[in-house]
Amino acid sequence: MITARVWRERRQRYLNEAARCKGCGRIHFPPRQVCDACRGSDFEAVRLAETGKVLSWSIIRVPPPAFAQEAPYAVAVLEMDDGARMMAQVADVAPEEMRTGMRVRLEFRKIRQYGRTGIIAYGHKAVPVA
């Protein structure tokens, strides 16, 4: 059930909820049941920093069907200011404006829809910080 699949991730997608390992302090996004740094299993929920920077990026020009209407679009590996990492699209940016190291802020956006009649999945994209 695609609806359930989207729904169960809502706290990660809507609130950028991550898990901080109480053993080693590392922040994991998405939350994990086992810390791959220290094997700890005791976590507290935290929300990712809203700003960060681009570590690497690409412009997707050959998209999968769900993103057929969106290409070309930028996708990046982000390092947030709390040290956690995530992958996100970079919105409101022209391909030629993308730069490694650029500062970004997370903004609430429509990520994809499951067909014209299906549900809409929301989440965060990065936008350049002026």
């Binding site: 690497s56 690409s58 997707i60 998209p63 590996v77 982000l78 992958m87």
Partner: protein
């Protein structure tokens, strides 16, 4: 554990095989390998395939193959490890023979990719990435590899032309391989002028969408001479390692630690070192991947990978020929078939049957097969 040998290999030419079904591909490659080995029976089969369900709506492929080969009662296993499915299937077959569980094992790698649209193919390949946190964002496989490429280029000052040189080399090799999908040479300029798929990767930096299958027959080394007239090729080492499925969780985007670890494990088992390798098939799904794999396997020094192809170090007549088959780039990359097809090439090389692309006197070869963006890597070392 018993020593294990490859006594037969088979493969059909990769490409857009419109007239052939997944079943046809598996059976043809299997029969070719069985014929090559000259064996009458198999005791077990292992088939590596990434996504027959998504590509062709066919699961239970192991059973389909056993049935279609008329080998009905044999145990048949399907192995899935994204693009490393073939290599991991080979490892599984090897373990069956090494452990004494089976005597003669057929290992097949197969993928039928052209029964879906290009966009559906892109989406299917992206299932090897973290669905909820990478593919969900619209990241594609070329896109993820492009992020590795960009990080690598920015860290080491590598250029698009250096990446292109990998494609040029592999196409030159593929031009000598009658089983390659593309048997034509290309130039650096053609690569750089080809359309951008995922910046900085051009379409000619990427392996193609292919249909194909490859197979090999394994048996205990001590029984090889009795079972087959072919010169046995011993698998002296195998290493398998995993890493985070999501690229973004890796501490260093230019590193693929699973490749390094899988190679180290294989070298340790074989009692060999990188400088012993005389011919290698590396997982060049994208030009950047051959560059990274050269470094992780230890064939070239870190940060030197991009210079290897332009300098001729990895050319057919160079000190360490890499991807003599044409690699995934030119030979084609039916994803589940690739790991077995790499073994096919190294076996031909070590038997001295590689024709115009023969590496003279090659006695020790290596294959490296990767799943995802480096989430899985399996390395085999072969010795004549």
């Amino acid at each position: 554990m018993r020593d294990v040998a490859v006594i037969g290999v088979g493969m059909l030419r990769f490409g857009e095989l419109w007239e052939k079904s997944l079943r046809d591909l598996c059976v043809e490659a299997s029969l070719a390998a069985i014929r090559d080995a000259g064996v009458e029976r198999i005791d077990s089969l292992v088939v590596g395939c990434m996504a027959s369900g998504l590509f062709t709506e066919q699961e239970h492929l192991s059973n389909l193959l056993a049935d279609s080969l008329g080998m009905g009662p044999v145990p048949a296993t399907r192995v899935e490890c994204a693009c490393a499915s073939g290599g991991v299937a080979l490892r599984s077959g090897l373990m069956e023979v090494a452990s004494g569980m089976s005597e003669i094992v057929l290992v097949v790698g197969a993928e039928k990719m052209t029964d879906v649209s290009g966009e559906a193919c892109t989406a299917t390949l992206a299932t090897a990435a973290d669905q909820e946190y990478e593919a969900f964002c619209g990241a594609t496989f070329p896109g993820l590899s492009a992020m590795i490429a960009r990080a690598y280029m920015e860290k080491f000052g590598a250029t698009s032309a250096q990446l292109a040189a990998v494609a040029v080399k592999n196409h030159a090799n593929g031009a000598l391989n009658p089983l390659a999908q593309y048997q034509s040479k290309i130039t650096v300029e053609e690569v750089l002028k080809s359309i951008m798929v995922a910046d900085p990767l051009h379409v000619l930096d990427c392996s193609p969408v292919s249909d194909g299958a490859a197979a090999c027959i394994l048996c205990p080394l001590e029984r090889a001479a009795k079972l087959s007239r072919k010169a046995p090729v011993r698998i002296s080492g195998v290493g398998f390692a995993t890493d985070s499925i999501a690229l973004y969780r890796r501490p260093e985007l230019t590193r693929l630690p699973a490749i390094e670890l899988s190679a180290q494990r294989a070298f340790k088992m074989a009692g060999r070192k990188p400088s012993d390798i005389q011919v290698a098939e590396l997982h060049d799904a994208f030009t950047i991947m051959e560059i990274c794999a050269l470094e992780e396997v230890g064939i070239v020094e870190r940060g030197q990978g991009a210079q290897a192809a332009p300098a001729g170090r990895t050319a057919l007549n160079g000190p360490i020929p890499v991807n003599t088959s044409g690699g995934l780039k030119s030979k084609g990359h039916p994803v589940g078939a690739t790991g077995v097809a790499q073994a096919h090439e190294i076996v031909l090389q070590l038997r001295g049957e590689a024709g115009p692309r023969q590496v003279k006197g090659a006695r020790i070869g290596l294959t490296q097969n990767m799943g995802g963006t480096g989430g899985s890597s399996v390395v085999h070392i072969f010795e004549a």
